[in-house]
Amino acid sequence: MNDIVDYSVVLSLLLFSIGILGVIVRRHPIVMFMAIELMLNAGNLLFIAFARHLAEVNGQIYALIMMAVAAAEVAVGLAIIVALYKYRAEVDVDAISAFKG
C-alpha cells in the first residue's frame, strides 16, 4: 500500500462513513442533505481514483455524469424541503413523517 490510489480509496471510504454518520446523527433536513452530497463526492473520488489506477478516461466521464445527476438531485431535494417547510413550518425531520396534502 504505497500508491496514491490506495490512499484515495481509504479517504473515500472515510468520507463515505462520515456522510452516513451525518445522516444518522443530524436531524436538520438540509444538513442531512449535505451529508448525502458528501457521500456522492466520496463515490466521485473513488471513480476518479480508479480511472487513474486503470489509466482510462471512462471513470472520469462517469464522475462528470454523476456531478450532473447530483446537481439535479440537489435541485429536486431542496425543492421538496422548501415545499415541506412552506406547508409545515417544522424543523425536525421526525415531525415530517407523513406526506399529506
Binding site: G22, V25, I30, N41
Partner: protein, 195 residues
Amino acid sequence: MSLLEALTFFPLAILAVIGAVGMVVARNPVHSALFLILNFFALAGIFLTLLAPLLAVLQVIVYAGAIMVLFLYAVFFFIQPGQRFTLAYSLPAQALLGSLVIIVLFTLMLYTLYRGSLFSVPSIGAAESFKRGEIFPINAFGSVLFSRYLLPFELTSLLLLSAMIGAVVMTRAPRNKNILQKKGITTEAQGSKDE
C-alpha cells in the same frame, strides 16, 4: 507515490476530513455548509493530484459554486425568528449507536479491501505515462464523451431539464389561503413549545 504527490495529497486529505467532520459536528447549518465547501475545495485538489484537471475545475464550479450556493439560499430562506435550528441532533444513545455502526462499517470495508487484491496490484502504466506528461489530455476526454458516451450525456441534459421543471412546480406559492393560516398557527405552536 512520489514526494510531490505525498506533499500535496496528505494535507488535502486532512483538510477534506476536517471539512467532513466539521460539517457533521457544527451546530449551525451555515457553518455546516461552509465546512462542506472546505471539503469540496480539498477534494478538487485531490482530483488534480489524481490527474483529473477538468473534474477539479468542475468540482469547484459546480459543487462549491452552484450547489453550495443553492444550499445556503435554502438555509437563509428558512431562518425565521421563531425557529430554532440548533436543536437538530439525535438522542445521545442514537448518536452513540450510529457512531458504532459507522466504525464497524468502515473497518469492514477496509478489511475487505485489504483481503482483496487492490492494495497488492500495481497500477497499470499510469505512473510512467504521467512522467511523460501524456495521460488524460482534455481532447481525449471530449472525444470519448461525445462519441461513446453521447447518449448518457444527452440524457443528462434531459434529466437536468426535468429536475428544473420539477423544482419550479414544487416550490410554487400556495394558492390556498387556509394553508397559510394553518402555517401561522403551527409556527406559533412550535415557538411556544420551544420556550
